[in-house]
Structure formats: structure tokens, C-alpha cells
């Protein structure tokens, strides 16, 4: 059963130069693999699920943290910063006062 699912899950999420394989949780930027921690991956996945939408910090925190790590909630900015550093500064855009959204894909909308 697991094998079948993996076979069907070969579809990859693409956002501009970013490639994400949800099955293997592999991220590639311009074809190069990028190493991300679990929480950075969760943040990226949440943004990739709704490209073009602004997600509030509350919504993102819900995705990234579990109940046990509530105390770390002020460190969402840190993970955004990590994503920008490891992938590309434009991969996450900040909408001040509202939240974060995935950066432009570089393709014409």
C-alpha cells in the first residue's frame, strides 16, 4: 500500500524555480537540493498549499508548531529568515501588518 501511494505521489509542487516533492519532502531550488529542518519544511508546505494567499502569523504558527512548543511562538520570523537565507530572499514575502505569502513565482500570472 505504501509503495502504491509513493508511486502516485510522484507529482511535484512547482513554484517558479522551487520544486517540492511532498512524498520525499525534498526541496530543490533551481535544481539544487536544499536542506531544511522539519519546521522550515512545514512552513514552506503551508505557504505552497496556498500560493498567492497571505497567511497570518497565527495560521502559520498553527501549521509549524505543535501544542508542546507554544512558548516558541515568537520565533516564526526566525524560520522565515531561514527559508530566505537557504533558498532565496524573495521566496517569502512579508505583508506588514497581515502575514506572510509565498513570493512571486516569476511566471506571468
Amino acid at each position: 500500500l505504501v509503495g502504491r501511494r509513493c508511486a502516485r505521489a510522484s507529482a511535484r509542487w512547482q513554484h517558479g524555480a522551487l520544486e517540492y516533492d511532498p512524498a520525499s519532502r525534498q526541496v530543490r531550488w533551481k535544481g539544487e537540493p536544499v536542506e531544511l529542518t522539519a519546521r522550515e519544511l512545514a512552513l514552506l508546505e503551508a505557504l505552497l498549499q496556498q500560493p498567492g494567499r497571505i497567511l497570518s502569523k497565527a495560521q502559520l504558527q498553527e501549521k509549524v508548531y505543535d501544542w508542546a512548543s507554544e512558548l516558541e511562538s515568537n520565533t516564526l520570523e526566525v524560520y522565515v529568515h531561514h527559508l530566505r537565507r537557504k533558498i532565496d530572499p524573495a521566496i517569502v514575502r512579508t505583508v506588514r501588518g497581515v502575514g506572510y505569502a509565498l513570493g512571486p513565482s516569476g511566471e506571468a500570472e
Binding site: A11, Q49, Q50, V95, R96, G97, V98, A101, E109
Partner: protein
């Protein structure tokens, strides 16, 4: 039923009817007068004869002379132009012997007790007789006249009246017909004008020139025209607005569908499906809100679903909708909230419509702002503002902002020009006033435009 025909019918019936009644009265009067005249003549004749017979000291004159004097002189004087042939006289003495009688007078019956007028038939013809006893009872005089003489006179009088009437009546009827036509001419013109109109020609009818009786009708019709015009305009506006407003969420649905297609089985796919379903919900909600809005426009802003507005969600949704355009135009979006402890614009309203409002404001700002600037949404305690550091619209344009389908010249972005009128309507429904404020920097130079929504005074 034609008014003209009915009016003509009434006039054509009532004129001869009135004419007939008048004729009957005048014939009646004429008959009365003629009777009086002829009766007076008979009485005078009878008295004349009595006087002649009773002349004191004199022998009774020869019967022939009596008849002669009576019929030739007195009677002629008494009766004027009347035909003497139809007059007759008879005289009896105390014993009832006919003393003198002319032609028909011989047929008069002797009635010793009679006095005054009586009518009877002689030789098949109706007569009117006047009996007069002399004072001493020596003589009984009867003067008589054929009745047809009177009828003839009455009918002659009648004809002499009838003739001018008969000649004038057609003229009168003709004049009435013309008058009716002339009077109803404004109605003809009105119906002609209405018949010549195209179905969408709802210009008001001129009231000032119309007759007083037509004015209320024209006013009512003009009011109806205005209502129809308003309704038509509203329908057209709704169609345009609906199309305009559906474009954005449909594009979002499309994007969510793309995500779903590339999603693998598992939680990610379930999430994508949930998102797509939520997108459909949103479109559905928007459609029903637009329908509600179109209905609300005709009536009062009551009936709106009013809940305390959660502005963060509204801003998030509206700015998300503008994100793609902002990226394309290299415009940064941001939102400023009031300081800690101050609630942003407390309002009860319809969240879906307020998202539409804010999206239109931001979309407008992003669309017409210069590249590379920041468009700021600002929520205060009593206002919602969208600042756009671009050059202000020229005054002539600002006056027209809010008109439908208005698009400033020289714009490279595609817009429908509906946005600001939608903003105004939704703002009005929520008791908010919508104004443009020109921003200036410290040196007084233009620094942008602010679209401001504040509680209406």
C-alpha cells in the same frame, strides 16, 4: 371605448333631445296663445252681435245685416288674417226659434241653458262654439269656429320655428364634432408620441405644455418611467458588478485547482481539496451577496447580515486577492493597525461585502499607483484608509470617480471601472462615507491619494 366617440355620441344625442324638448314647450305655448286669441275673437263676435241686437229703441236689424256686419267688419277685425270661411254665427229668440244664422250657423244646436265655450262635431268636423245669453234673455247668440283653423295656425307657427332650428342643428353638430376633435388633440399627440418611441426611450413627457387634466397622468407616467429607468440601470449595474466581482475569486479557484491537481494523496491532497471546497463556498457566498446587494439597492440597508467585523480576516482576504496584481506592478502591500488596546473600526456588517469593498479600494490603488511604491491599508478607531503615494487623479476625474465604467485615460492595467461605485454602495450600506483625501508632504507637495471610509455623520 373611444373617448372621442363617446363624447360625440353624448353630444349628438343630447343636442336634438334638448332641441325636441324646447320645441314641445314652444308648440305648447303657441297652442295656448292661439287658443286665447281665437277664443277672444269668438267672444268679441258674440258680444258684438248681442250689442247690435239689443240696441235700445231700435227694431232688430235685418238678419242679413247682422250677419253682414258681424262677419265682415267685427269678425275680420277680431281675427285678423284668419280665414273667415270657418267662422259661423247663429241667433235664437227667447222661444228657441232660429232668428238668424249664416251657412254653418244653421247647424248649431239650440241650447237654452248653455253659456260659454263648448266643443262638438258638425258635419264630421270639430267645432268650438261660444254661447252668449243676452242680459234680458231675449236672445241666445252662438259664435263658432272650426277647430282645424287653430291647428293650422299652431302648425304654421311650429314650422316657422322649426325651420331655422333644422338649418342650424347640423351646423351645431358640426361645431361640436370639431370642438371635440380640437379638445382631444393633446391626447392624440401624446399617444402618437408614445407609439413612435423605441422601447428603451424613457425620456420624461413634457408636463408644462399639457392641459391641466392631463398633467396628473403625465406626472404619474413620468414617475413610472423614472422607476423603470432606475430598475433597468440597477439590473445592468448588477450584471456588470457581478461579472466584475466574480473574476477574482474564479481566478483563485483556478489556482487552487492547479494545487489540487499536483497534490499527492494524503494529508496534502486532503488539505488542497478542503481549500478548493472553501473556494467554491466563497464564490457561492459572493454570488448570493451580490444578489442580496442588488435587492438591497432598491430598498433600505436593512436586512443585511450584520455581525461584528473581524478586520484581520477581511484585510487578509482582500490583500491576498490583490497580491498577484501587486507583484506584477512591483507594489508592496502593508497594513497598519491601531496601537495596542484600540479596537480597529468597530463595525457590525457583512464580512463578504466588506472584503469586496476593501479589495476594490486596494485593487484600485495598486492598479493606478506608480511602480515600486507601497500601498498602505490603515485601520483606525473610526476610519479605514487606503493610501497610495501615486499622483492624485486630476480634479475633473475625481469628480467623476464613482461613476460606473469610468477608466482614467492612459492606464495600462485592465479594469472595469466598476470598483469605486461598488465601494460607494457597500460603504453606504454600512453607514460609512467614502471620500478621497489628497496627501501632501512637509513642503506641501502632493504626496499621494488617500481613500478614506469613515462613519457617516
Amino acid at each position: 371605448v373611444s373617448l372621442r366617440r363617446r363624447l360625440l355620441l353624448y353630444l349628438l344625442l343630447s343636442a336634438p333631445l334638448a332641441w325636441g324638448v324646447a320645441l314641445w314647450f314652444s308648440v305648447d305655448r303657441a297652442r295656448h296663445e292661439v287658443n286665447e286669441l281665437f277664443d277672444a275673437g269668438l267672444i268679441r263676435l258674440a258680444r258684438q252681435v248681442q250689442t247690435t241686437l239689443g240696441r235700445p229703441g231700435g227694431e232688430p236689424p235685418a238678419p242679413a245685416a247682422v250677419a253682414e256686419a258681424a262677419s265682415e267688419g267685427e269678425v275680420a277685425a277680431a281675427l285678423g288674417e284668419a280665414d273667415l270661411e270657418d267662422l259661423a254665427i247663429a241667433v235664437w229668440d227667447r222661444g228657441g226659434r232660429p232668428w238668424v244664422a249664416d251657412r254653418e250657423g244653421g247647424g248649431f244646436p239650440y241650447r237654452p241653458q248653455a253659456s260659454g265655450f263648448t266643443e262638438l262635431e258638425l258635419a264630421g268636423e270639430p267645432w268650438r262654439l261660444y254661447y252668449l245669453q243676452s242680459f234680458d234673455g231675449a236672445w241666445l247668440v252662438a259664435a263658432g269656429q272650426k277647430l282645424y283653423e287653430r291647428d293650422e295656425m299652431v302648425s304654421q307657427l311650429t314650422v316657422s320655428q322649426l325651420l331655422p332650428w333644422t338649418l342650424v342643428l347640423p351646423l351645431l353638430l358640426l361645431a361640436m364634432a370639431l370642438a371635440v376633435r380640437q379638445t382631444l388633440a393633446p391626447l392624440d399627440r401624446l399617444s402618437g408620441e408614445l407609439a413612435a418611441r423605441t422601447p428603451d426611450d424613457l425620456r420624461p413627457l413634457p408636463e408644462a405644455a399639457a392641459p391641466t387634466e392631463l398633467r396628473p397622468l403625465l406626472a404619474a407616467m413620468n414617475a413610472l418611467f423614472r422607476r423603470i429607468d432606475d430598475t433597468l440601470a440597477r439590473e445592468r449595474r448588477f450584471t456588470a458588478d457581478a461579472a466584475h466581482e466574480l473574476r477574482t475569486p474564479l481566478a483563485a479557484l483556478r489556482a487552487q485547482w492547479d494545487v489540487l491537481r499536483r497534490a499527492a494523496d494524503g494529508p496534502a491532497r486532503a488539505e488542497a481539496e478542503r481549500r478548493l471546497a472553501a473556494g467554491f463556498d466563497r464564490v457561492e457566498r459572493l454570488v448570493s451577496q451580490m444578489l442580496a446587494l442588488s435587492r438591497l439597492e432598491a430598498s433600505q440597508p436593512a436586512g443585511l447580515a450584520r455581525r461584528p467585523v473581524a478586520w484581520p480576516a477581511v484585510v487578509e482576504e482582500a490583500l491576498s486577492d490583490c497580491l498577484a496584481l501587486a507583484e506584477r506592478r512591483d507594489v508592496t502591500l502593508e497594513c497598519e493597525w491601531p496601537e495596542e488596546g484600540v479596537a480597529p473600526l468597530p463595525l457590525k456588517g457583512d464580512t463578504t461585502l466588506l472584503v469586496v469593498l476593501l479589495r476594490n479600494l486596494v485593487d484600485n490603488a495598486v492598479r493606478y499607483a506608480p511602480r515600486g511604491v507601497t500601498v498602505t491599508v490603515r485601520l483606525g478607531a473610526d476610519a479605514l484608509e487606503v493610501d497610495n503615494p501615486g499622483p492624485p487623479p486630476p480634479p475633473a476625474l475625481r469628480e467623476r470617480l464613482g461613476e460606473r465604467f469610468l477608466r482614467p485615460e492612459g492606464q495600462d492595467e485592465v479594469g472595469s471601472g466598476l470598483g469605486l461605485s461598488i465601494v460607494q454602495r457597500i460603504a453606504a450600506l454600512h453607514g460609512l462615507a467614502f471620500v478621497f483625501v489628497e496627501l501632501t508632504d512637509a513642503d506641501g507637495r502632493p504626496a499621494g491619494v488617500r481613500a478614506r471610509l469613515q462613519r457617516a455623520a
